[in-house]
């Protein structure tokens, strides 16, 4: 393997398709004679549908069907629990009864010959409800908190340790509900052919969408095909299969025609998941020289009445720092809203905000530099699991980041740094995210023209899966990347896990590696069996592959290319490979990515405007497959963090649970002018344990740590500790 592709800054293989408008996203697929469907969403937050005036609407121009719980086919909804589904509860069954569980729940679907007719008819449909007042305020203490399974962890006695600590802090934190708001809306086009169903649908988890829709309609899994070659951003919202996918398929079956359904931006705030609003408490106890003696982390997330969505809100607190007494507790508040879902950096992004804000606060109380405080509590091993880290470069990240950021110029006192009349603040925070791995498989086909086709049912929501997997295959086949064609986005390809959790490269990449190794073995045995080949009857141990050519070891001849081998028999080599983490290795090591994030803010002391001037992130993520892609991932994650820190918040009307800012004008996200200089660096890190590629994942950790770094910088600038996100102008003005 002398041609190295991994680690090279290869430009995107899908770049041309994306700059010419030829990349096809879910809503870009059309079928001849298709109908258009529009969902009618409930306008009450809780109750039941009592009347639907569908008769007049059915007579409107172009209307083919008005489907409600009264005339919808009863769907089998066979049990299906995907890895991505909450362990407790049952998904919403759409149009199967008159109940309304949350504002915006689909209560009807109108199907017409074109979009205009469908929209007009949907707007004209009058629905009457018997409504009750929903409970939607998570902070309402009368709402019962439930304890999900394995939600709590403890070592030592944290409560006693914190109480008796010479220095302690004990504070509450709140983070607003956020919506993923990818640029691309959810969309599904459904086409039946007998009892076979094809879905062109936005999905980060094709094989789960396939299995779930098969279960909903009571079909064999292989009767459903899901196609999604391009995703216009997702950040977690397309991990689960939401009600609109079922509705598109139901409408298509009931009308006997192909049906296209695209959610409006507003509807994307109703039933496609959100980062749950969280309430947290952190209590820290420490010695005067900064050694943690006790850590308490309690957190509550919101969920729906019908499913218990859980995320790793308190998980990182157990392993991040060395401390003999740690207690974590996680609770859920069940509200009359739809079920939340994983959003970039799920759990960690929220939990780390609280923990890292508290660590920063402790550093001021102790008079110790915030980075030095973390150094004094750097663990030698994972003290929660009592096992070694497979790799951990947190301190190297702080060193590299400090140097690039210029941490040394920071004067410790709050309000001590200025630029003219502006207050300047510098803040830092730790980032971490688990290095997950899930079983995956892939197929490699070596063709007579010298090209290698590689397939997996994976997704590319933007990070560059097309490109990075091309590099992996090129690396292990010893071919230039131009000779590799990587295909994804079809459920019929070999199975992969969801495209989320930063495990795509670890899982799918390792499977591609295995498939390439298998393809080479098959090509070699074919050559060895071929009496006309230069390696005829050679022992496999005597052979070596180099730059895609097979030779006897030490032989200086050109050897045989894949093309030569295939040309002699005429049939392509086809091999499948799969990979999963060795359970013994998984048991033996604690595997996580780590990073250090630095932020500089400038705050106008008179009007309180907060501008982020610079963010520097240094990450230890194992091997970097493509530095161009990796840096882009990081800067994108950082602006997600800026949004979380300063802008993003979905506001619910307490009377009926309506998201009042369900559109892009009032759900604020960073625009170009909000974005400062962003820099991402990677420490050299070799992790021989995580997976054969040595990669630990990047997409999620890229967001984690940014919000607390900004909040800590805001404190440094103003002396005002803001413990609730997003931070508002008012928060710093009332100092």
């Amino acid at each position: 393997m002398n041609v190295s592709s991994i680690g090279k800054p290869l430009t995107r293989v899908d770049g041309r398709a994306k700059v010419t408008g030829t990349a096809r996203y879910a809503a870009d697929f059309n079928q001849p004679g298709q109908l258009y469907a529009v969902i009618v969403s409930a306008t009450v937050g809780l109750g039941r549908v009592t009347e639907i005036a569908s008769t007049e609407v059915e007579r409107m121009p172009g209307v083919v069907a008005v489907i409600t719980h009264r005339n919808a086919q009863k769907l089998p909804y066979l049990p299906h629990k995907g890895v991505i589904d909450p362990a407790v509860g049952e998904r919403l069954h759409v149009l199967q009864d008159d109940q309304v569980h949350f504002y915006g729940q689909p209560v009807a679907i109108v199907v017409a010959d074109n979009l205009d007719h469908a929209e007009r008819a949907a707007a004209a449909l009058r629905i009457t409800y018997a409504a009750r007042r929903p409970l939607v305020d998570h902070a309402d203490r009368t709402i019962e908190r439930i304890a999900p399974k394995s939600a709590d962890g403890s070592r030592g006695d944290a409560d006693v340790a914190v109480t008796q600590a010479p220095v302690m802090i004990d504070e509450a934190y709140e983070i607003a509900r956020e919506n993923h708001n990818p640029m691309e809306p959810h969309a599904t086009t459904a086409a039946w052919s007998g009892d076979r169903l094809t879905l062109w649908s936005k999905s980060q988890y094709l094989v789960n969408e396939q299995a779930e829709i098969a279960a909903v309609f009571g079909l064999p899994v292989e009767n459903v095909e899901v196609i999604c070659p391009f995703i216009g951003g997702a950040f977690g919202t397309s991990l689960r299969t939401w009600p609109h996918v079922t509705l598109a398929a139901l409408a298509a079956r009931q009308t006997g025609r192909t049906v296209k359904l695209v959610l409006s931006r507003k509807q994307m705030f109703f039933t496609t998941g959100h980062r749950p609003r969280t309430l947290q408490r952190i209590a820290l106890g420490a010695t005067p020289d900064g050694k943690l003696t006790g850590v308490i982390h309690e957190g509550t997330g919101e969920t729906s009445r019908y499913e218990q969505f859980t995320e790793a809100l308190t998980a990182a607190t157990a392993y991040l720092y060395s401390c003999p007494n740690v207690r974590t507790q996680y609770r859920l508040a069940q509200l009359d809203t739809s079920t939340p879902n994983h959003m970039r950096g799920p759990g960690e992004a929220s939990g780390i905000f609280a923990l890292e804000s508290a660590m920063d606060e402790l550093s001021y109380k102790l008079g110790i530099d915030p980075i030095e405080l973390r150094r004094r509590n750097e663990p030698r091993r994972d003290e929660a699991e009592n096992k070694p880290f497979s790799s951990r470069s947190l301190m190297q990240c702080y060193e590299l980041g400090s140097e690039r950021f210029g941490w040394a110029r920071r004067t410790p006192e709050p309000r001590s740094m200025r630029d003219g009349r502006l207050l300047i603040g510098l803040g830092a925070a730790t980032a971490t995210y688990p290095a997950y791995h899930a079983p995956a498989s892939a197929r490699v086909r070596l063709l007579a023209d010298g090209l290698a086709e590689v397939e997996a049912a994976a997704s590319d929501m933007g990070p560059g899966t097309y490109t990075s997997m091309t590099q992996v295959a090129a690396e292990f086949l010893g071919l230039p990347p131009e000779q590799v064609r990587f295909r994804l986005g079809q459920s019929a390809y070999p199975q992969t896990p969801s495209h989320g959790g930063s495990w795509t490269m670890a899982s799918v990449g390792s499977a591609i590696r295995a498939a390439c190794v298998e393809a080479q073995a098959q090509a070699a045995s074919r050559a060895v069996a071929d009496s006309g080949s230069p390696v005829f009857e050679a022992s496999v141990d005597d052979l070596e592959w180099s730059e895609g050519r097979l030779r006897r070891r030490g032989d200086a001849s050109p050897g045989m290319s894949y093309r030569d081998i295939i040309a002699r028999t005429g049939t392509p080599v086809e091999a499948e490979g799969s990979a999963q983490r060795d359970p013994e290795v998984a048991e033996g090591y604690s595997m996580h990515s780590f990073g250090a994030v630095f932020a500089e803010v400038a705050i106008d002391p008179d009007v309180g405007t907060i501008r982020v001037r610079r963010i520097v992130g240094a990450y230890g993520i194992g091997r970097v497959v493509n530095p161009l892609l990796a840096r882009s991932q990081c800067t994108g994650g950082m602006i997600g963090g800026i949004g979380m820190a300063l802008m993003e918040r979905t506001v619910l009307d307490p009377r009926d649970g309506r998201p009042v800012n369900a559109h892009m004008a009032d759900y604020l996200m960073p625009v170009n002018l909000d974005v400062p200089k962003l820099e991402a660096y990677f420490v050299d890190e070799v992790d021989p344990h995580v997976n054969p590629l040595g990669v630990k994942g990047l997409g999620e950790i890229a967001l984690v740590g940014t919000a607390p770094a900004i909040a800590n910088a805001v404190f440094h600038a103003t002396g005002r500790r803001v413990r609730s996100l997003p931070i508002h102008i008012e928060d710093v003005l009332t100092a």
Partner: protein, 170 residues
Amino acid sequence: MPRMNAARKHPVEFTLNGRTVRAEVENRMLLSDLLRHEIGLTGTHVGCEHGVCGACTVQIDGRPARACLTLAQQVRGSDVRTVEALAPDPAVLSPLQAAFRRHHGLQCGFCTPGILMSLDALLRERPDADREDIREHLSGHLCRCTGYATIVEAALAAAEEQRKEETTNA
């Protein structure tokens, strides 16, 4: 504009990417829907439906415009250009497209066509646009993936290239 009837379709004729297009459309139909659903040019993306995100940006008579805020009837007699017409021929990218590809000015690519149409108009009108002009101009476009830095770099590189080309041609 003649009086229109909501109950029936009305003709509209305009130039689209250099070719004459005639269509019969409801008077409520948006330009974005006409392009995507009737004509089949799906490179123009719809992200927010109310002119905030910029993904649907096309050029009408050389100026950037939100296709999701434009009625199809409004482009009667106009010259409309979409991302599909940016490349001078199918095998060659425009300097702006090439710069976006080279500088990774995109991730998921959903916002890209709108951004390209905006920048193409900007660089034609203001070949000397600098970093600040470009940043200001791009603030009408949301991108949730890249962090914008590579988009600005790509635009600056394209502007530079365009200036060089013009010097050579002059």
